[in-house]
């Protein structure tokens, strides 16, 4: 393999960088698009519920009800709103001013004092079933901890437990102790975003050359097909990795996602993935000869599968069998696994190595296919 870079290739690469400098659209795709998407999804998509507005109706206020509502007040998950009666609460939930109603009836204190437990009424706004289920769980948990705390205080047994200090199930979350969904969403998101920018960069840039008729002129020079492909891959690889760097920086410093693994693994995995993404872009550009179609195809065949089928948000294990098999074709799935490991767990080689091997295969397949279908001809 010769290391000498031909004058032709140097000329082409230089041209590509001059164009990148003059036409900010590729810079925007490489840097602005990831930053924007990361901000949008990082702040917008969250599977946690914070400051949920809960309407609290206390029919007969006592010291006990006050203790419970103040406990609620201190929870980061709830923003209790005191309401005079259940009718007012129902109107408020109808207007979507609150997401749940917590109703402490007149017999609350009496039953609590009598048995150490009391029923509480909970009504949830089921329009957003996902949030409703989370709120239900949080309320239940808050209720249980308050009961336990109170039982310890007054020396009364926790209802349902006959012996004090008996077995209690304690949840322990590994890798993400704060159970912040953002911590595992952001690394996955980086993979999804880099799929889009990598594929868009090459697909759009080549489609633009088709549109302007410059590729036709280029093809009738003694330049080889390999030189054309390399001149399109090299500059946009640099740009794509720059976008990757922006995304990682934002993840660490803006979203405070821990980076527990090594930087070298991150760079290496990102390089492999960028190869696969640019290969997909090249493949798209051999079909789409105008920028609009190239953009459409890039979104449909790269962004959407990466979003839905990479396991970054929807668990692959719970997908139906045929779809689960299909996810093996989505390069982002392997990168998501590596990113989540490097960010949240560290260099877990049993995760990194097989997924990196898969990425090598994906990059080879897409780049090889692109080389195969790209011709130095118009037909």
């Amino acid at each position: 393999m010769s290391i000498r870079i031909s004058r032709r290739l140097r000329g082409l690469v230089r041209k590509e960088f001059v164009q990148i400098r003059r036409d900010p659209s590729s810079l925007a795709i490489a840097f602005l698009l990831p930053a924007l998407l990361l901000l949008l999804f990082g702040y917008g998509v969250s599977l946690d519920a914070y400051h949920v507005r809960v309407g609290v109706v206390v029919t007969q206020p006592t010291a006990e009800t006050a203790s419970f509502t103040s406990h609620l007040q201190h929870s980061p998950y709830f923003a209790p709103v005191a309401l005079p009666d259940i009718q007012a609460a129902e109107r408020a939930i109808g207007r979507r001013e609150i997401s749940a109603i917590l109703w402490l009836r007149e017999d609350f204190t009496r039953k609590l004092l009598a048995s150490g437990g009391a029923p509480i009424g909970v009504m949830l706004d089921g329009v957003d079933a996902n949030t409703a289920r989370i709120v239900e769980g949080y309320l239940q948990q808050t209720w249980q901890t308050w009961l336990a705390a109170r039982a310890a205080e007054v020396g009364q047994p926790v209802p349902g437990a006959t012996i004090s200090g008996a077995l209690a199930v304690t949840g322990r979350v590994w890798f993400n102790p704060a159970v912040q969904s953002r911590d595992y969403l952001v690394p996955g998101l980086i993979a999804v975003i880099m799929t889009l920018t990598g594929a868009l960069l090459t697909a759009l840039v080549i489609a633009r050359e088709w549109e302007r008729g410059t590729l036709e002129a280029l093809m009738v020079t003694p330049v080889s097909l390999r030189e054309i492909i390399v001149s399109k891959l090299a500059p946009y690889f640099v740009l794509g990795m720059g976008g990757m760097a922006v995304s990682v920086a934002m993840a660490v410093w803006l979203f405070h996602v821990p980076l527990r693994g090594s930087f070298a693994v991150l760079v290496l995995a990102a390089s492999l993935f960028m190869g696969a993404a640019l290969g997909m872009g090249l493949l798209i550009s051999s079909v789409a000869r105008n920028q609009f179609v190239a953009g459409q195809i890039a979104i449909i065949v790269t962004f959407l599968p990466a979003f839905i089928l990479s396991g970054f948000i929807f668990d692959i294990g719970s997908m139906p069998e045929p779809i689960r098999l299909f996810t093996y074709l989505v390069a982002a799935r392997y990168f998501v696994a590596i990113l989540q490991s490097v960010f949240l767990a560290g260099d877990v080689w049993s995760v990194i190595l097989p997924n990196a091997a898969a990425l090598v295969a994906m990059a080879a397949i897409f780049l090889g296919l692109a080389r195969l279908v790209t011709r130095k001809r118009l037909d």
């Binding site: 041209k15 164009q19 008729g213």
Partner: protein
């Protein structure tokens, strides 16, 4: 590399080349077993109307397409087996010049020098030479996208010349370029072939450019219908071309009579005369050609290349539609009523004046031409006249209606035929006519009458169910004109109606337009074919948004008359006017 002594002698040898394209499931033949040779040295013209297969042939020669069968040898190299070697030896300029618009003139040259592996030591001298030749030396730091059309074209040419190729392929280099730049380009090409001994293959749809070529290949519908020295071809037409004048008979009426005469092959209006070409063997006397007009005068004129092309096309069975001449007594004699009044028309886009203080009047039944290079302001003027774009200042009255007050009322009396015909490609001929007539508010018996009129008048009945996308260009043009006439407008606006249509279809189109004008329809037409300007009663030449000249074609041509040019053509006149107005440095 296998060399063949026979094909080596020629620059390009094309042997029985077949090329088909798949289009929506159908095979469309682009080249039908074409065989031709291009000799070394000089300019060979690839001449033919749009769709003849010129670009396909160029791309096959450059190795951008692969023939379905047959063989092409370029400079002794088989294109199919070694396209890279061919591409290393030739220069190729595609239709859109292949320039990177966000690179400067210098950077474009550098890129192509790199691609052709030109040694940096040799570049300075070569660049200096090319920049001098193209006149681009003062603009090396300018972005290619900021150059005018003519300068882009010259830069595109310079880029293909960075490493003097043995063979230069130019695909329609003069399309969409104003006559001044066209003439400059030809001067450069002449220099190249003379001083560097380069072989040039140049495709064009302009028949007048054929006369500048050493030899020509004439293409029509994917086949070669003729080849050879254009001068010889023109000479074979000797004694068959005449100017006809008849006192007291309008030139349009005269042209219609002549076009219908059995002995006449071709009859076009040229200034105040009608220029005819007789059929081979026809007796060229007034008595034989025009028995009904014994007073007419016949003056022999020298033949031109276009005559031989028309002769060739008619031999190849491209039948002309026989049209009845318009009624002897035109319905409405031309009156002095102004149908279109434009005064002080101005359109500004920010600081830029697209149209500045343009005034003209068009009388009823007149054919009025709007001429100018790209960017001269023709299309902007047209859009304002159609009520599609509000003017910044000035008066606009069409058919007595103030366009600024009642654009819709004026539009109802205007028929408009847009560039590229704006038909619904997926609809059939019948569906197009039905839709457009309905859009103009026609219904019931009147709609049925107009549709059957259109099908009969434009000979579209046999094609009523054909999808309009698949129609040949000439038929698309007929359908577009029929559509514009559905509501019987008093005024017809035609925007570049004949671009890309072959010369026979163009003649037929103009005969229809003449007939309409005789019947009292006012016609406003834009064109970049200088000869078509001759068909107009009066014309306006625009440059940079302003009026350069207005008058009859004779009076405009007279402005360019000089001792050196006693008989200037319309193109000569146009170039003289434009150079004096906007290219003072070139004129000097």
């Amino acid at each position: 590399m296998a060399r063949n002594p026979e094909t080596d002698a020629a620059a390009i040898a094309i042997e029985a080349v077949v090329k088909r394209f798949r289009e929506r499931g159908r095979e469309v033949p682009a080249l039908k077993a074409l065989t031709a040779t291009v000799q070394r040295g000089g300019v060979t013209g690839l001449i033919g109307p749009d769709g003849a297969g010129k670009t396909t042939l160029m791309r096959l020669i450059a190795g951008l397409l692969r023939p379905d069968s047959g063989r092409i040898t370029v400079l002794g190299i088989d294109v199919r087996s070694d396209p890279l070697a061919v591409q290393g030896a030739i220069g190729y300029m595609p239709q859109r010049f292949g320039l990177y618009e966000d690179l400067t003139v210098r950077e474009n040259l550098d890129l192509y020098a790199d691609l052709h592996d030109v040694d940096p030591a040799e570049r300075q001298a070569r660049y200096a030479e090319l920049l001098h030749m193209t006149g681009l030396a003062p603009f090396t730091a300018r972005l290619a996208g900021k150059l005018s059309g003519g300068m882009k074209q010259k830069l595109g040419l310079a880029c293909t010349l960075v490493r003097a190729p043995a063979l230069l392929l130019l695909d329609e280099p003069t399309v969409g370029v104003d006559p001044v730049s066209r003439r400059e380009l030809w001067q450069i090409i002449d220099t190249l072939t003379r001083t560097e001994g380069m072989t040039v293959l140049l495709s064009t749809a302009y028949l007048d450019e054929a006369e500048r070529c050493r030899s020509v290949l004439l293409m029509h519908e994917g086949t070669l219908i003729g080849e050879g020295d254009p001068k010889q071809r023109t000479e074979t037409m000797g004694g068959r071309s005449f100017h006809v004048d008849a006192e007291g008979t309008g030139r349009r009426r005269l042209q219609a009579l002549l076009a219908g005469a059995p002995g006449v092959l071709d009859a076009v209006i040229q200034g105040s005369h009608v220029r005819i070409v007789t059929r081979p063997g026809a007796t060229a006397t007034v008595e034989a050609l025009l028995p009904t007009l014994p007073g007419a005068q016949l003056v022999a004129v020298p033949p031109r290349f276009e005559d031989s092309f028309i002769d060739l096309l008619s031999e190849h069975g491209t039948a002309q539609a026989k049209m009845a001449p318009p009624p002897v007594d035109p319905v409405a004699a031309k009156d002095e009523q102004d149908e279109i009044v434009v005064e002080g028309l101005t359109r500004r886009f920010g600081d830029f004046y697209a149209v500045k203080d343009v005034s003209f009047r068009v009388r009823r039944g007149e054919i009025f031409g709007l001429l100018g290079a790209n960017g001269a302001g023709k299309s902007t003027t047209f859009r304002m006249l159609c009520g599609l774009l509000p003017p910044s200042a000035g008066t606009l009255r069409v058919a007595g209606v103030d366009l600024r007050a009642a654009a819709a009322a004026a539009r109802a009396r205007i028929g408009y035929m847009a560039q590229r015909f704006s038909l619904y490609g997926d609809l059939s001929v019948m569906q197009n006519l039905r839709f457009i007539s309905a859009a103009y508010g026609l219904g019931g018996q009147r709609q049925r009458d107009r549709i059957s009129w259109a099908l009969a008048e434009f000979e579209l009945a046999a094609l009523a169910d054909a999808t309009s996308r698949d129609l040949p260009l000439g038929y698309k043009q007929r359908l577009a004109l029929a559509a514009a006439l559905m509501h019987e407008p008093d005024i017809l606006f035609l925007d570049e109606p004949t671009s890309g249509v072959d010369p026979l279809a163009r003649r037929e189109f103009w005969r229809r337009i003449n007939g309409l004008a005789e019947a009292g329809v006012t016609v406003l037409v834009t064109t970049h074919f200088m000869e078509e300007a001759e068909y107009c009663d009066r014309l306006l030449i625009m440059a940079q948004g302003q009026v350069l000249a207005e008058g009859t074609s004779e009076s405009v041509k007279a402005r360019a008359r000089s001792a050196a040019l006693p008989e200037p053509t319309m193109e000569d006149a146009f170039i003289a006017l434009v150079q004096a107005a906007i290219h003072p440095e070139i004129a000097a």
